[in-house]
Subunit: 218 residues, 3 copies
């Protein structure tokens, strides 16, 4: 992840990153359970939800090593998380867990979108591409999770602002970068905007405008 | 895209490329609308349909920068296209638009297949791999569009010649390249063969032979 | 594939590899037939099942050339296999073929998991990542086959040990590599463990433990 070598607040950032990664992983865990995947599928979808977005960004930007190669301990942590969930978690815990995870997920959305945008800017990408890479980092773990689970990605279809919050926060990072802000400040500002927008959307129940109510096939 | 630095007819090629890209994008736009995706999904699937094939080819061939990084203005153009469609397009426009787009789509099929084949040949790929890369360039935008929309890819299942036309035209490019033809001529010949085959298939309603009518699960 | 330059038993290994690749390809062929894909889809899904896992591993590890670029004759062989199947295979052959292919498939599972793990170790990957790369090599051809055919991957959902056998065998390779065993020996040991576990699982009908019978959505 892009924040490893920033000079400010590294411990706080690491903690936020860990909480957010677990929230992303939990979204995969719950979806895998709902789809009644087996133990292998649960571990794979958990890992895909947690690391798929950053990995896809790094493949597109041709960057190596991946986060989960550099910090391979995270793979063990996710295996342990999946094993613990399969041992102790019951169906009646699923919905409350999903609700509780919305808040750390919003943190992760902001942090990963802002971090992904900055990584792309540092590789010399144009602003719109960098913002798109931030969106990919923050949302494509969930997109890949849904594709593997044979669902239309909820980030593309639930009419709740999610990727859009990442998009907005990405432009804050672009602005901060253009103004030569220190990187942690630019990331913090972008992450704050994204997370605040997401929390506001969750609180207010805001929905994206709908297209063409008279059409479509279902 | 591979044609950027060819010496002949660059303006014409650019125009054809733009028209074809818009046709590919429109296929994503219409599929996203049929599946009732939200605004984010519409933009994502539109972009995937337009650029997914060339991007996958470049990931496989380890080429950078992608077309949409080098020409990032296209990302804005697609956002504008999606926004305009969501503002002004109604369900009754969908079927006529899909029919009208068949013809520029056939142009794009030829141009992108031929261009993709030549790109792979120039990277020293064997002929069969180069032709396959042409097919990927021309058809995998649609394949990824259908996978994200939770459909079996129509290029693999509708029994209409589509990828097959790209395959045939790719061999024309291979032949022209082996004969040391100028690149624009080889691309033009391959694109013409592919597009002509596709148009002929559309006109005649030709279908691929069916396999094992007594079998299958549905 | 990673075994091309090992000094021992190259002819035997090549034969095993060929048999296993055909078994993987057959799984794609049968799935494509069950889904009634057209000729293009049959060829594509056959190739994806055979080479998708190794290709994804190489994209993640940033290795080139792919197996099917270095040995492009295999692409012709798969086209011929698909054509022969479409010409001569009837629906009543599907189930017996699928059963007969379980045994060479178990060979391929072992060989590709062990080979993929060693390739990753030689690129300096941590042990857990290398084992995961072995699992990806051996199982993601089938995962991609199922995603394209619009199914939840059977490797993630059928509760039969498949990827788990590859995971176990991968650790044998890691152990052999750490002990500086000759590579063919390490691969052979890992492949033998994986294949033996898979055959044992097939024979005994062993199933992975199920999670949370009281929950899930279907």
């Amino acid at each position: 992840m892009p924040l490893a070598d920033t000079p400010l607040l590294p411990a706080l950032l690491t903690a936020v990153e860990a909480v957010a990664t677990i929230a992303f992983a939990a979204s995969g865990l719950l979806e895998a359970a709902r789809k009644r995947l087996d133990a292998v599928g649960v571990c794979m979808v958990t890992g895909l939800a947690a690391f798929g977005g950053g990995t896809l960004r790094d493949v597109l930007l041709d960057r190596r090593p991946f986060f989960w190669v550099e910090h391979a301990g995270w793979l063990w942590a996710l295996l342990a998380l999946a094993a613990a969930a399969m041992a102790f978690m019951r169906a009646r815990h699923f919905a409350p867990t999903a609700r509780a995870m919305q808040w750390p997920d919003a943190l992760g959305l902001g942090l990963f979108a802002a971090g992904g945008t900055l990584v792309a800017l540092e590789q010399g990408m144009p602003a719109i591409v960098a913002v798109l890479m931030g969106v990919v980092t923050a949302t494509f773990g969930g997109v890949l999770r849904d594709i593997v689970c044979n669902e239309i990605p909820s980030a593309f279809s639930d009419h709740r602002p999610y990727a859009l919050c990442a998009f907005a926060g990405g432009w804050v990072v672009v602005g901060g970068y253009a103004l030569a802000m220190p990187h942690p400040l630019a990331i913090g500002a972008g992450a704050a905007v994204t997370s605040a927008l997401r929390v506001a959307a969750l609180w207010t129940g805001w929905e994206l405008p709908r297209w063409s109510p008279g059409g479509g096939e279902r």
